[in-house]
């Protein structure tokens, strides 16, 4: 093989790529399309579904979810025994593994799909209960087959109400007791 032919072949490859359309995305103006399953920052939390059981806080590998509840005197069967006072997610240390969402037995907590929550202080990176109440309810379909089955897309579709995101009806007390005995 004569000297220089390999270089020419390489140049031919770069030349064909030179004629192609650039694949760079000019980020703030254009955006890469995200999949509905994307695990992102703004957690979606439905207060109506949450019982304050703190499964999410228990399952979090970093322990960054802080929950404080007080007895509210509601019916146990209705699934609302405790009223929430504090529900903080410290996004500064969150790694978005989604184990809290996997743990939630009532589908009250969902991943969001944002990635632009930069702030100037660490204090602002903590999502407090008020912010979670106000946040737009566009849940990601990550680990939520009932949303994926409906073909829900959090980037384009409307926000969902609390009664539209559940897997099933609330379990009865006997079911709950049975589950805890079997699974310990």
């Amino acid at each position: 093989m004569p000297y220089g032919l390999g270089l020419l072949k390489g140049m031919l490859v770069t030349l064909t790529n030179f004629r192609r359309k650039p694949f760079t995305i000019q980020y703030p103006e254009e955006r890469v399309p995200q999949h509905p399953r994307f695990r992102g920052e703004d957690f979606v939390w439905y207060e109506e579904r949450c019982t304050g059981c703190a499964s999410c806080a228990k399952f979090c590998p970093l322990g960054i979810i802080r929950i404080v509840t007080r007895p509210s005197g509601m019916q146990t069967q209705e699934g609302e025994k405790y009223a929430l006072e504090v529900f903080d997610i410290d996004l500064a240390r969150c790694m978005f593994c989604g184990l809290c969402v996997e743990a939630c037995p009532y589908d009250a907590l969902h991943m969001g799909s944002g990635f632009e929550r930069a702030r100037y202080t660490r204090k602002d990176l903590v999502m407090t209960i008020d912010e979670l109440r106000r946040a737009p309810k566009r849940p990601s379909t990550w680990f939520r087959p009932q949303l994926e089955g409906k073909g829900y897309n959090p980037h384009t579709d409307r926000p969902l109400e609390w009664h539209e995101v559940g897997r099933h009806q609330a379990p009865s007390l006997a079911d709950m007791q049975g589950r805890w005995v079997e699974e310990r």
């Binding site: 072949k9 390489g10 695990r39 978005f96 680990f143």
Partner: protein, 367 residues
């Protein structure tokens, strides 16, 4: 008048772009020739093994993502296999196939990064690297469909994977499998007969097979020296014993062979992916395993063929919800063993090339 020269120690410091992370080399130079060297690492030590001792078995999956951050899936795979061995869990069939698909996609992404940065070290500034990263971006899009993340996947769980693939994943991966071979042809056109690459890599940094075996090197670095050793063949895990693929082997063990072994491994990965996508059975993707798993007291060691070599997890259980000891046998760390033999007598410019051809990852070296 003659010049009086004496050997000088030069520090190729922790923040050098071609050390692939925070890796420091103290090299004794005689003029331009390497006489002796001492690698210094530990700048990225995060204590993963100790952190694993105070977390539940499922939570450690999120820690393993941070070891080799270019191919997180293989780390998940090795860890999950070790837990399954320890707790005697049988994963579901579909879960095993999905794990193989995910691991091979990860291998493709890692080899693309390795090849791209190796050429960057040679001085092919940015062009081949950008081509490699363009294709890796498509793999990351597939991963995002699968598990909602692009780098730190946390996809696997003891007993399978956490969730089945979405329905739009299958057409996307079929399209990827039909287009990727053309791209690999393009990359080989660009690289294999290029005179500059041949001059810089042929016969540079030869690692004899005997030395490689004595240094316990594994992965593409060992295979380039002519040793047929692949964990997927010699100790098959999951469903690799049902899939057909070859082990590409080099002849001389120089930098060129190490690059070519990786390029050919990508083609074999595409073969495996095609078979796995064709044969995948239906059924549940995950066996019912409790989150706070309590394996019986004992020990287990499981290893997989990661893109860098043999990655193993050794777990000791005392019956609690977290392991008593978790030891990680990381391939990048052990592939650094023959570094002194490889580099002695070569020049400074070759040092960077040889070091880049080993393809280490500091997240895994320092753990």
């Amino acid at each position: 008048m003659t010049l009086q020269g004496e050997p000088v120690i030069i520090n190729i410091g922790p923040q050098h772009p071609s050390t692939h992370g925070v890796f420091r080399l103290r090299v004794l130079f005689d003029g331009e020739v390497v006489q002796d060297l001492e690698p210094v690492f530990g700048y990225l030590h995060r204590g993963t093994e100790k952190l694993a001792e105070e977390r539940a078995y499922t939570q450690i999956v999120t820690l393993t993502d941070r070891l080799d951050y270019v191919s997180s899936m293989t780390n998940n795979h090795a860890y999950v296999l070790a837990v399954e061995k320890l707790a005697r869990i049988r994963p579901t069939e579909r879960g095993m196939y999905l794990r193989v698909i995910a691991a091979e996609l990860s291998r493709l992404a890692s080899h693309l990064v390795a090849t791209g940065f190796f050429l960057q070290d040679l001085g092919a500034f940015a062009t081949p690297l950008m081509y490699c990263f363009r294709e890796r971006e498509r793999i990351l899009d597939l991963m995002e469909m699968l598990c909602g993340a692009r780098i730190t996947f946390s996809y696997m769980r003891p007993g399978g994977v956490f969730q089945d693939a979405p329905p739009d994943f299958w057409p996307a991966i079929q399209q990827f499998l039909s287009e990727m071979p053309h791209y690999l042809d393009e990359l080989e056109h660009l690289l294999t007969e290029n005179e500059v690459i041949l001059a810089r890599t042929k016969g540079v940094g030869i690692l004899p097979a005997q030395v490689a075996i004595n240094c316990s090197v594994s992965g593409p670095v060992l295979r380039a020296s002519g040793v047929q050793w692949d964990i997927r063949k010699v100790d098959p895990y999951d469903v690799y014993d049902r899939l057909e693929f070859d082990i590409p082997v080099g002849t001389h063990g120089d930098c060129y062979d190490r690059m070519m072994v990786r390029l050919q491994e990508m083609r074999q990965s595409l073969r495996i992916l095609g078979q796995a996508v064709r044969d995948i059975p239906s059924g549940p993707a995950r066996a019912p395993v409790p989150f706070f798993l309590r394996p019986p007291p004992g020990e287990a060691y499981a290893h997989v063929e990661s893109p860098k070599g043999e990655l193993g997890f050794y777990l000791v259980s005392d019956g609690g919800i977290s392991p008593y000891r978790c030891k990680i046998r990381s391939p990048s760390f052990i592939n650094l063993t023959p570094l002194r033999e490889l580099l002695r007598g070569w020049k400074m410019a070759d040092l960077i090339v040889i070091f880049g051809s080993i393809d280490i990852n500091m997240g895994e070296v320092d753990r």
